[in-house]
């Protein structure tokens, strides 16, 4: 049983095709692992019956030789994805027991290829948070612990459930979403691989919106290759999303293991921020050295507007969120609180339904869009956004990809930053830039810190050049020798 859940997605798919085991066996092993791991609080809804029914169907297709690319693979789905007739809440009380009568395009693509769902994964409410503590279902616990300590650590956020579930072998891979780092930071905190593709690669249709111009779906996986396999299935043009790119989806997995010799790797000097732990500095240098050894040319580049990225992000994202979340008004679905008149119903519903962080962002967003403030905040932030994109454009003159740390720290204790929003927002300092510029970027585990916690490196690619990102990710994964390193099981 343990053996089956510890397989990588690739190994499991190969095993299924070779009839070494059935999808039923694989799924049952995962269902048992999920049940045993409830203390992690990674799954907020388990759907074992549906999973087993799907496994049976997959086994039939495997037997007939009609297997899809992900046939029989049990996955976890972030609760931000709408799943037909299965509760989808975005981990907010305001959606109540909402069961969408439709399936998101990304998950539909996965089911089309034969994958199956074990359940819905915990996350920060409406994907707003960097520690999974804003979830209405309580925080997810990171399977990793500081050596010799029982302290509960955050798996990061917002895709904390996805990251923990993958790290603890509670699925073969998971869907996640990334608006400012919500795939990459949790991946870094849990020793998993996460990639946010180019904006427009994955359809946003059926994904509960946080900030439309920044939201992108992507996978969290055990290995770079697994991430490539999952992203291939998740991607593709969707006419139902006007921002979806009508462009060929390459076979991302074919780039993993490809030589990186001759690639020019940019190291942005502005990412050396004050107060960055020496270990992260060192890890970055390790990454540089590994790539140099693999034949890459290292070039220093400048992204001069980096320091404005976080403030710009925390204007644009809340602005869009304040409007996107207006539909949760208690009128058509989800929670409705009582009230003596319409305004009271609105106020009570939204006061009860939204958590503190979501309210904070709605307020910020409403403020920056208000008459008299729009130019000073929203418009200015959009200009900064343009400059940041231009910075990257400049950098591509000198290099093919960029290497940076994923996050400024390793996983921190639950509750440690929850009273200090600014400290929490700083977690996104290295990741928000690529959301603002729409670029593909991946976090790949690169080592453990002195306390035994995983750290990640971020690879940023040119628009639509996920291929190169996967090649470099594969090279780092190999050089770091991280694969196979797992959190010691304590749950």
């Amino acid at each position: 049983m343990t053996a089956l859940t510890s397989l990588t997605l690739k190994a499991a798919l190969d095993g299924l095709k070779a009839k070494q085991f059935s999808s039923m066996e694989l799924t049952k092993a995962h269902i048992a692992a999920v049940e045993a791991a409830r203390p992690l609080n990674a799954y907020i809804l388990e759907t074992p019956e549906a999973a087993l029914a799907s496994a049976e169907a997959s086994d039939a297709r495997l037997a007939k030789g009609e297997a899809g690319a992900l046939e029989g693979a049990p996955l976890g789905i972030k609760d931000l994805f709408c799943t037909k007739d299965v509760r989808a809440t975005a981990c907010s009380k305001i959606l109540g027991d909402f069961q969408p009568p439709y399936e998101s395009t990304v998950t539909s693509n996965l089911w089309r290829d034969g994958a199956l769902m074990l359940g819905k994964l915990n996350m920060d409410e409406f994907a707003m948070g960097s520690s999974n503590e804003t979830s209405a279902f309580g925080p997810v616990v990171n399977p990793w612990r500081i050596a010799g300590s029982n302290k509960s650590l955050t798996p990061g956020g917002s895709s904390g459930g996805s990251a923990s579930a993958v790290a603890a072998d509670l699925c073969l891979g998971a869907t996640a979403t990334d608006t400012g780092g919500s795939i990459r930071q949790p991946a870094a905190f849990t020793g998993t691989v996460g990639i946010k593709p180019t904006y427009g690669r994955c359809s946003r249709w059926g994904v509960v919106a946080f900030a439309s111009s920044l939201d992108q779906a992507g996978p969290i996986a055990k290995t770079v290759e697994d991430a490539a396999i999952l992203l291939k299935s998740m991607s593709g043009h969707d006419p139902k999303d006007s921002t979806s790119l009508d462009i060929e989806v390459p076979d991302f997995a074919s780039f993993v293991g490809k030589s990186v010799k001759g690639l020019r790797i940019g190291v942005p000097k502005e990412y050396r921020v004050d107060g960055m732990p020496a270990e992260i500095e060192k890890l970055w240098q390790d990454g540089i050295n590994w790539l140099k050894e693999a034949g890459c040319e290292i070039v220093e580049v400048s992204l001069p507007h980096t320091k404005y990225a976080l403030p710009a992000y925390y204007i644009v994202a809340p602005a869009e969120a304040s409007s996107n979340l207006a539909r949760y008004d208690g009128m058509r679905y989800g929670l409705r609180a009582e009230g003596g008149n319409l305004t009271e119903i609105y106020e009570n519903t939204r006061a009860e339904g939204f958590g503190a962080e979501v309210k904070r962002r709605i307020l910020i967003g409403t403020y920056v869009l208000s008459a008299g403030y729009y130019d000073a905040y929203y418009l200015k932030a959009q200009k900064v956004r343009r400059r940041i994109a231009d910075d990257f454009e400049q950098a591509w003159q000198k290099c093919d990809a960029l290497l940076t740390p994923t996050a400024p720290s390793a996983a921190f204790g639950l509750g440690e930053n929850s009273n200090d929003p600014i400290a929490m927002y700083l977690n996104d300092v290295f990741t928000v830039t690529t959301n603002l510029a729409g670029l593909p970027s991946m976090s790949v585990p690169a080592g453990l810190d002195a306390q035994g916690l995983p750290l990640g490196l971020q690879i940023i690619g040119r628009p639509l050049d996920e291929g190169t990102v996967f090649s470099i990710g594969g090279a780092i994964e190999k050089a770091a020798g991280f694969a196979g390193k797992k959190a010691e099981r304590w749950w």
Binding site: R204, A209, S242, A326, D329, Y333
Partner: protein
């Protein structure tokens, strides 16, 4: 030059200044950003897609046909077509607005400045400058009177495409405002971009009303500065020509009274109550929403191709102004008749069919006066006319060739209206053929003179008394005698 419309106040004369925002529902089978059907008469909430109901994770996809309709309309308004425009979100909460925002075009509309030539009843015309036309979503409908405690919401209209056509403040009288809407409607209906059905609310106007002293408006036009004009009030959603005029009259009077009492007009949004003929305050400027407009991040900027615009332009039908000019030139109609005909494309088409090879002036009279009068009385559209265009043509033909007189024609028309068929058959059936046989008329005249020698003598002194003889002959012949022939014969026999 028409005289400027003025209202007399206690302290002197006032003029009014009017600008209109007309909301025209785009004629389209589906909504602006969803595939849901658009139609009238469906049950509540039967034409609502997941997008229209703003379900979580749903996204808008622009309906290209609605864009084409907006471009077509822009071309019909002789307006600038903006190859690049943008959709913005207008944020506010209301139960019939499921998204919590309306997708509209705030900063960059698809159509820029244009103009409309408006015809007045007296045959003069004036120009209304168009400021812009933009596309936006309509909201659903809140129904407050089904239940004393609850409000019901019907989302069928939610997401339907509207064109908002904004005029400059170029109208100066209630009649001008109504004439502008009438002309705009004719253009939209001709283009096929809006069905123009005002009763169903598919065409409705927000009317901006302000008052000023004589001379102020001219200063405004010279300088472009609104400081010369009074504070305006916006009357929302007025949906008939009559209500537009009533609302303006009431509102202008209200403002004048406030000003003459030494008060100040507050800029506000008002509602027109057709029952009472009054406007009442809906919300003041202070209560006005801060809509927090910003570009909709779910939609890319709208870019259209100049070649596509050319293609649409090439396919435009004949517009009302061109049609008016042609009707005047080809049929010799008066400016008035021509402008009445073009105000409804169906009427114009009816006329043109009936007028083929006939006396056009006569056909215009029969169409506009007799037929339209009768249709109006019965509340019928010309498309539902019981008398066909061909039959109006045939009726005029019978008058032209002298088979019947104009007077008899009215009788024939009544039979046609009653559904008795083609005019020739009616004339035959009822024996209405005009008597042009001079022998028959002569006999009647001879008989008449013989019976009334005194009158025949008297008429020699007083020739205008011939009318009595004409009347008697017509009476004798059942009205069928050719009046010209009767006259001629009488004159000869009476020695006049």
């Amino acid at each position: 030059m028409t005289e400027t419309f003025t209202l007399k106040g206690r302290t002197g004369d006032w003029e009014i200044v009017l600008g209109l925002e007309v909301h025209a529902q785009v004629a389209s089978n589906s909504k602006l950003f969803s595939g849901a059907a658009v139609g009238f008469g469906a049950g509540p909430n039967e034409q609502v897609s997941l997008v229209d109901a703003a379900m979580p994770g749903m996204l808008p996809v622009l309906n290209k046909f609605c864009v084409e309709q907006a471009v077509r309309t822009g071309l019909g308004l002789k307006a600038q077509i903006n190859l690049k425009s943008r959709f913005d979100r207008k944020n506010y909460f209301y139960p019939d607005l499921p998204q919590g925002y309306q997708i509209s075009q705030f900063e960059f509309p698809i159509v820029g400045e244009g103009e409309v030539t408006v015809d007045r009843i007296d045959g003069t015309s004036f120009t209304v400058r168009i400021e812009r036309l933009h596309l936006e979503q309509d909201a659903g409908k809140s129904i407050h009177d089904l239940d004393p405690k609850a409000t019901y919401v019907d989302l069928n209209r939610s997401g339907t495409a509207l064109m908002e056509i904004v005029s400059k403040p170029d109208m100066r009288s209630p009649e001008d405002a109504a004439a502008y809407v009438k002309k705009l409607r004719a253009i939209l209906v001709t283009l096929g971009t809006c069905d123009g059905d005002m009763e169903k609310g598919n065409l409705r106007a927000d009317v901006n009303v302000s008052v000023c002293r004589p001379g102020d408006y001219e200063k405004f036009r010279e300088t472009g500065s609104f400081k010369h004009l009074g504070t305006r009030c916006e009357i929302k959603n007025v949906n008939s020509y009559r209500f537009i005029q009533q609302a303006i009259n009431y509102e202008a009077r209200r403002q004048i009274e406030i000003l003459e009492d030494g008060g100040k007009v507050d800029q506000e949004t008002r509602l027109f109550d057709p029952g009472k003929g009054e406007t009442r305050s809906m919300r003041s400027k202070e209560e006005a929403h801060d809509y927090r407009y910003f570009p909709d991040p779910d939609l890319l900027p709208l870019e259209i191709d100049a070649a596509w615009v050319k293609e649409i332009e090439a396919g435009l039908p004949e517009l009302p102004d061109a049609k008016k000019a042609r009707l005047m030139a080809d049929y010799g109609l008066s400016a008035y008749d021509a402008s009445v005909l073009i105000s409804d494309a169906d009427v114009a088409a009816f006329f043109e069919e009936a007028a083929k090879g006939r006396d056009a002036k006569l056909v215009a009279n029969w169409t506009l006066n007799d037929l339209m009068g009768r249709l109006g009385k019965d509340g019928l559209e010309i498309t539902a006319s019981p008398i066909s265009a061909a039959d109006i043509g045939a009726l005029v033909a019978l008058i032209e060739d002298g088979t019947i007189s104009g007077k008899i024609a009215r009788t024939v028309f009544d039979h046609m209206w009653a559904g008795e068929g083609a005019p020739a058959a009616i004339v035959e059936k009822h024996g209405l053929v005009q008597i042009t046989d001079t022998g028959a008329i002569e006999a009647a005249v001879d008989k008449l003179i013989a019976a009334n020698p005194d009158k025949a003598e008297a008429v020699k002194e007083k020739p205008q008394a011939i009318g009595w003889f004409v009347g008697q002959v017509m009476k004798e012949t059942g009205g069928k005698a050719n009046p010209a022939a009767v006259n001629d014969i009488l004159k000869a026999k009476l020695g006049l």
